[in-house]
């Protein structure tokens, strides 16, 4: 039976695009399946300061576009379809899209990354896109001279809070425990005390609305509960790996849902590799995702040669 592609990559973020640069340069037929946009979460980051080679930093959207163009230059093909499932069949892997298309590949790379975790509090779903947001670079501009709350204490939350000061009259940063952002970001945050108020040990309980318009967030600090008046809420409370589509496969996941691999980045399903943020024990950095992508591509090449 003929196989459609040498390699199918699921995802088109920095990890898969890097892997595709390596495979296509060696004329390994490669198709990337992406359900959203090329560049993944990195593309939604307003500014990236810790990616090597850009001494002044680079916009996430620009880095994503450069990676995509570089992969396409060597012949990588992008297909904007979602993979629903995959299974091992004879000596290849059969994949099915959510539309029901079936295709086959000699090897597969899963680099589906992660998505922003939701808070699961009342009002969050109801006011999504009408006061509740998960993408500051997309929707921050609607809050010019208005007051915003940013929920979270990690790198993303602090970076996006800083970005949102471009628009907002004031940002309330609601941190459930302590700040976990890098020292560099915390130092930058400290210079913006007049624009960003940091509320530590503050749990966000509810998005509050009046007449169907978001007017605040209810928070608990210690034993006291109060409403902080804001016009919009941006939520950055961590990431969840995009592995739900693997639940009926033999691919092993860790407790948090990341894909377990061996030292060759191969999963429990032979011929299926994983790289980037979706891989168990990944450091969730663009630089490491890119490194993972290069390693995975070389291991895939070895795997294909041995077939």
């Amino acid at each position: 039976m003929s196989v459609d592609h040498d390699v199918v990559m699921i995802g088109a973020g920095p990890s898969a695009l890097t892997a595709a640069i390596y495979t296509t340069r060696e004329e390994i037929d490669t198709v990337l399946f992406e359900k959203s946009i090329a560049g993944g979460l990195a593309a939604t980051t307003d500014w990236i300061d810790n990616y090597p080679g850009y001494s002044k930093g680079i916009e996430g959207i620009k880095l994503a576009d450069e990676l995509r163009q570089q992969a396409e230059r060597f012949g990588a093909k992008l297909s904007f379809k979602e993979i629903a499932t995959l299974r091992r069949h004879d000596n290849h892997i059969q994949l099915t899209t959510t539309k029901g298309d079936v295709l086959s590949a000699r090897a597969v790379l899963i680099a589906t990354g992660s998505n922003h975790r939701t808070l699961n509090v009342p009002g969050e779903n109801e006011y999504y896109s009408r006061g509740v947001h998960y993408c500051a670079t997309c929707d921050g501009a609607f809050y010019k001279n208005r007051r915003i709350a940013v929920v979270g204490g990690g790198n993303s939350a602090v970076q996006e809070a800083i970005f949102l000061t471009r628009f907002a009259s004031h940002v309330d940063l609601l941190v459930r425990s302590k700040l976990r952002a890098s020292e560099v970001l915390q130092e930058k945050l400290a210079t913006l005390r007049d624009k960003i108020t940091v509320h530590l040990e503050t749990a966000t309980d509810e998005v509050v609305a009046t007449d169907d318009v978001v007017t605040g967030v209810r928070v608990t600090s210690g034993n006291s509960s109060r409403v902080i008046p804001v016009d919009g809420v941006f939520i950055f409370v961590g990431l969840i790996p995009n592995t739900q589509f693997l639940k009926d496969t033999p691919i092993e996941l860790d407790k948090a849902g990341h894909i377990k691999t061996d030292n060759n980045l191969e999963t429990a399903m032979p011929g299926v590799f994983a790289a980037g943020d979706v891989r168990s024990r990944s450091t969730a950095q663009i630089a490491s995702a890119v490194g993972d992508g290069a390693t995975a591509a070389l291991r895939i090449r070895e795997y294909l040669e041995a077939l």
Partner: protein
């Protein structure tokens, strides 16, 4: 058919939506809602929300399709019908 895109300059979904329209050869009017508060108000009134990209497609018969987000499937279905 008149295509209008409401976008922001920093939104990757907006950039890729416009690249997709360019590649397919569709002409459109692009309003940067981060630069144009009047357009932002029109978009909020038309869509009832504050997320971009938001695209409207006005047909010859006066009907209007509204697409929130970069929904390739929906855009293709409407534009190619």
């Amino acid at each position: 058919m008149k295509i209008t895109v409401y976008s922001t300059q920093t939104c990757p979904f907006c950039v890729q939506l416009k690249q997709w329209l360019d590649k397919k050869g569709y002409e459109y009017t692009d309003y940067s809602v981060d630069k144009n508060p009047y357009a932002a108000q029109i978009m909020i009134r038309q869509s009832g929300q504050m997320g971009v990209p938001f695209t409207t497609i006005e047909h010859e018969d006066g009907t209007l399709d509204k697409i929130l987000g970069f929904d390739r499937k929906k855009l293709a279905t409407i534009l190619e019908s």
